[in-house]
Amino acid sequence: MTTVTAEPPRAATEENPLARLSPEQLDAIGEEFDAIRDRVMADLGERDRRYIESMIAMHRRLAILGRVLLLASRRRSAWVAGTAALSAAKILENMEIGHNVMHGQWDWMNDPRIHSTTWDWDNVSPADAWKHSHNYEHHTFTNVRGKDRDLGYEIMRIDPEQKWHPVYLLQPFYNLLLAAFFEWGVAVHDLNFEAIESGEKSKAKVGEELRAIGAKVKDQALKDYVAWPLLSGLAAAAFEAGLALRETRTGRRRRGGLAGIAGRALRRGLEGSRETAKADATANVIRNAWAYAIIFCGHFPDQTYTFSEKEIEGETRGGWYVRQLLGSANIEGSALFHVASGNLGYQVEHHLFPDMPSSRYAEVAPQVKDVCERYGLPYNAGPFGRQLGMVQRTILRLAFPGGKQRPKPGPYQGGEG
């Protein structure tokens, strides 16, 4: 095994590896990645179907568990357990299921429900708008400055090549807001203000998209902040009333008679509703913050490269693959971590093969590393804490003018990383 020094020192100006590959090498790389993809796609079958179906069933069980526990949300323990189950359900539904199904990763099953054209998710961002801005814009123009609107989501300066503006002084603050309300940020981002201003997007289209967002917002609000809190409230009130009536029957009369009982039941009901609404809001924020953290670690850590529009002129399939490789970074973690992150810890593999079922990324990772090693290409990866730390440092530093490219790791050297 090769011994790897902690952080191989590299010149900060290490040239973009894309520039040093010949067209023949790029073609060869393209063929190798195509072959990896073809092998997996030809092998898809029952085992893969069982995987996604078990994830979908697990989401539904967790959601029911969380909702039922929260019927007793006035009890601290039920509140904590219910919120945890609901957060886990929302994370699973958003990441491993929603994101990946809407990428078309499971379209090969020809299942009318588990399909990119019909799937909808528990999110304020409508499926169609997200599919366009994410699957098309972001996955086609990954890390191309001026083309990939996901590069800082148009509101953040995360690459020193982006021009500084005083508004970026505020980015450390709205960074936190974005983490808490990520799904809202995504919904607004999908509207594409730039296209609206330039007139590229018609008013009618904007209206249509706003109505779609409105419908999603209404659905989520009705479910999380009206319907389930109402049920919890009714459950709490009924429980209180039942308890009091039993005490009345057994002779231990309480103060206030029936009116008193009704008053107490009403108070308990309101408390139950409030607690459940709080729990639902907490679950949404936890899900948002988690999605934010995983997604920001995908392209913004120090190891990744960005590209100018000039650099991708006349790009071949091989060139596209190498750009995906250079522009993405993996997060190392356990099997559970990868499920919870929708396998976006395999961001490199996801960007190389966006429509390959996510459950196969772990299996192709060694083959991708092998290609990197043979062509002297980097394979960007690091533990979650370190990757997220780098991203936050960049957000803080680049809020101020200046800044320079961080050192890049250089060619993948093999080993366990």
Binding site: I64, M109, N110, H132, N135
Partner: protein, 366 residues
């Protein structure tokens, strides 16, 4: 979107209850949770459970299916689109219903025959087990026994073409209308007659039934001219024929020359097989159903490019087959994936227009 099953006949009260609970589960439906308990409870799509699988002659099996909700009914002779999951993939095929409408147990049956190069029939004949869940699509077909049935009937069937005729015979039996029926069935050997035992039983039970078995292994194929010998009054009968295309063509010609073609109904199952080849398609005319625009598309131009050239406004994305933005529903014809050479020809399949070229005439819903 992939091919979908039929919408079940959900009782109104249950429908209202599910509707009322919707906002608790959006964007899912209460159904999505109920089906964790019993997959037949889905009111999104009509499913059925396999109750019994019994072997028949000639590599066929009879599959008895219990629909999740009340069976909407069918006419004797019609076929059913049935969806099964084989190796993770939903596949749809049409099979004639072999049971009569209105069975007391509410079940329906099909009798697929093994086609060893196929996907669905090997599953149904060899691997399916009672308890398995299948999807039930629409009931279709105009090859049906009218109600009330004609007074004098001639059935002509060959091989697995017996299946729609079986439903007609069972239906006539159920309503006690086997008054004047002649049935000529062709099979290679006596042992290879699908439903052989039941056909002989029906024959022996009814005065008005006459069953003639043509063993082609010994007697050769049935020629239309043989009818004058086997069923001299064939011109006075309403005839229902089901079998290989060649036999049906011969019968049709015979009826045109010597009988009343109006009184001949035929059922044909013609398999459409894609040709082999590299990553160049045959090319052809593409019709975009949303706009009505037609485009000539040669064998190495993706449908998307040809459509845009012809002025159609089509959804597009990466143009390299990864983002699935450009998918359209294939309504007719076949397309070839220019990357893999794979042919897609399933009606209602979603195809990526950016990487597929037409194999002949194509209609696409875009």
């Amino acid at each position: 979107m992939a091919e979908t099953a039929a919408t079940p006949n959900v009782p109104a009260r249950r429908q209202r209850a599910l509707q009322a609970l919707r906002s608790l589960f959006t964007p899912l439906l209460p159904d999505d949770y109920l089906e964790l308990i019993n997959p037949l409870w889905s009111s999104r799509e009509l499913r059925g459970r396999i109750e019994r699988i019994s072997p028949e002659a000639d590599g066929a099996v009879s599959v008895l299916i219990r629909p999740g909700f009340e069976w909407p009914g069918h006419l004797p002779g019609q076929y059913l689109r049935i969806g099964v999951v084989v190796n993770g993939v939903h596949h749809w095929r049409a099979y004639s219903l072999t049971t009569e409408p209105g069975r007391a147990d509410g079940c329906i049956g099909i009798t697929p025959k093994l086609v060893s190069s196929g996907v669905v029939s090997p599953y149904l004949t060899q691997r399916a087990r009672p308890g398995d869940i299948v999807r039930l699509g629409g009931v279709e077909g105009t090859f049906v026994l009218p109600s009330p049935p004609p007074r004098r009937i001639l059935f002509i069937s060959a091989g697995s073409g017996i299946t729609p005729i079986m439903s007609m015979l069972r239906s006539l039996e159920r309503s006690s209308e086997v008054d004047d029926v002649v049935h000529i069935h062709s099979a290679r050997t006596a042992e290879g007659v699908i439903f052989g035992e039941r056909l002989r039983e029906i024959d022996s039970r009814h005065e008005g039934m006459r069953f003639h078995l043509q063993l082609t292994g010994e007697q050769g194929r049935l020629a239309p001219a043989d009818l004058d010998r086997i069923c001299p009054d064939w011109r006075e009968r309403d005839t229902f024929a089901s079998g290989p295309g060649e036999m049906l063509d011969d019968l049709r010609a015979h009826w045109q020359e010597q009988g009343d073609p109006e009184r001949l109904s035929i059922e044909r199952f013609q398999p459409i097989v894609g040709s082999e080849g590299g990553a160049t398609a045959a090319g052809g005319r593409v019709r975009f159903l949303a706009s009505g625009i037609e485009a000539e598309c040669d064998g190495d131009t993706p449908i998307l490019a040809a459509g845009e050239e012809a002025g159609a406004c089509l959804p597009f994305g990466c143009r390299m087959g990864i983002c699935h933005t450009c998918v359209g529903r294939l309504r007719a014809g076949a397309v070839r994936d220019l990357r893999t050479g794979e042919v897609h020809e399933t009606e209602n399949e979603m195809v990526r227009t950016c990487v597929n070229a037409p194999e002949g005439e194509v209609q696409i819903e875009l």
